[in-house]
């Protein structure tokens, strides 16, 4: 009787051994499946440059940290500094404490205070726009928000609540509570 049971016992022992080995080898992390709204990529201290069709760098980004999230193809930037140099246009710098890029950077969302600086050109002095909860579409150069905004240019200042600006057409609409202080240059004639 005992000889007939031996193979059975051996098989059970072998199965037990395989189960033990398998549970010992499985890494806990592997059980935690990555959720869609969690970063699938984290980069520290990033410096990236984008080139146009002519091979010219037109968009530069420096950030302390970048986290990419699969859902909606979103990336969060910590302390980003965007620089845009479009041909024939004054350079623009956009600095904020956190920004979310959507759809591979087609649109940027900045919940905190953001400062957009456009360098002077032949006709205009430097323009500095300070706002919050700002949206920015870099390629068409559109910037908009429903929160307070202040724009300073030379000795003049414009402020309001809610704005939309077209940095290429160089137009800005202040949607409400508009106040402008305008320093007229001394008349030459």
């Amino acid at each position: 009787m005992s000889q007939r049971l031996l193979p059975l016992v051996m098989i059970v022992m072998l199965g037990l051994l395989v189960w033990l080995l398998n549970s010992a080898a499985s890494l806990p992390a592997l059980e935690h499946l990555n959720r869609n709204n969690e970063p699938d990529l984290i980069v520290q201290k990033t410096h990236s440059v984008r080139f146009n069709e002519a091979g010219q760098p037109f968009e530069r980004l420096d950030a302390d940290r970048v986290r990419h999230i699969t859902e909606n193809d979103v990336a969060w930037f910590d302390n980003p500094h965007f620089t845009y140099v479009l041909p024939g246009k004054p350079r623009m710098d956009l600095v904020t404490s956190s920004a979310q890029s959507i759809n591979k950077g087609d649109k940027l969302w900045m919940p905190d205070t953001a400062v957009l600086t456009r360098q002077p050109d032949e006709q205009h002095t430097k323009l500095v726009i300070t706002g919050r909860q700002v949206w920015f579409a870099p390629t068409p150069g559109l910037v908009w928000s429903d929160a307070e905004v202040v724009a300073d240019m030379g000795g003049s200042r414009a402020s309001g609540v809610g704005f939309s600006a077209d940095t290429q057409k160089q137009t800005i609409i202040l949607k409400s509570k508009v106040s402008t202080i305008y320093d007229p240059p001394k008349r030459t004639r």
Partner: protein, 161 residues
Amino acid sequence: AKADREEKIHIQADQGNFDQKTNTGVYIGNVIVTQGSMTLRSDKLTISQDADGNQFSQGQGNPVKFRERGDDGTWITAESLRYDYNGKTGLLTLIDKANVHKDQDEVIGDIITYNLNTDQYEAKTTGKSGSRVNITITPKKKASAPAAAARPAATNASEAQ
């Protein structure tokens, strides 16, 4: 006053559209402009500037109200439905139901052109039948003659003592 023209311009409104290429700003809704002693209120205002720094503006309102202290210290008030200001020539043109008050003087007409540099004005009608220009000039009161004569006599009496 002429000095006002060099002061900063402060404009408040419900909404503002600005075009840097043409150096133009359009203000809409409860527009209040202040520059030195000058205050202007209108429903809509368009302001622009030429390469020499001269300012130009047009506005409309129900009515547009304008108030400024003249160089001689007297207040000038004016109203009209539309206006046009040319900073280069210093001409403020009030159009449609225009009236200007300075001290006791009053000018009423369809179109009043006021020269902010020379303090001169011209009032005219649009030529429609029945429309008239109406100007009221109040002569300044001269210091009354007896009071003037009495003063030297008092001086003689004090010398005689």
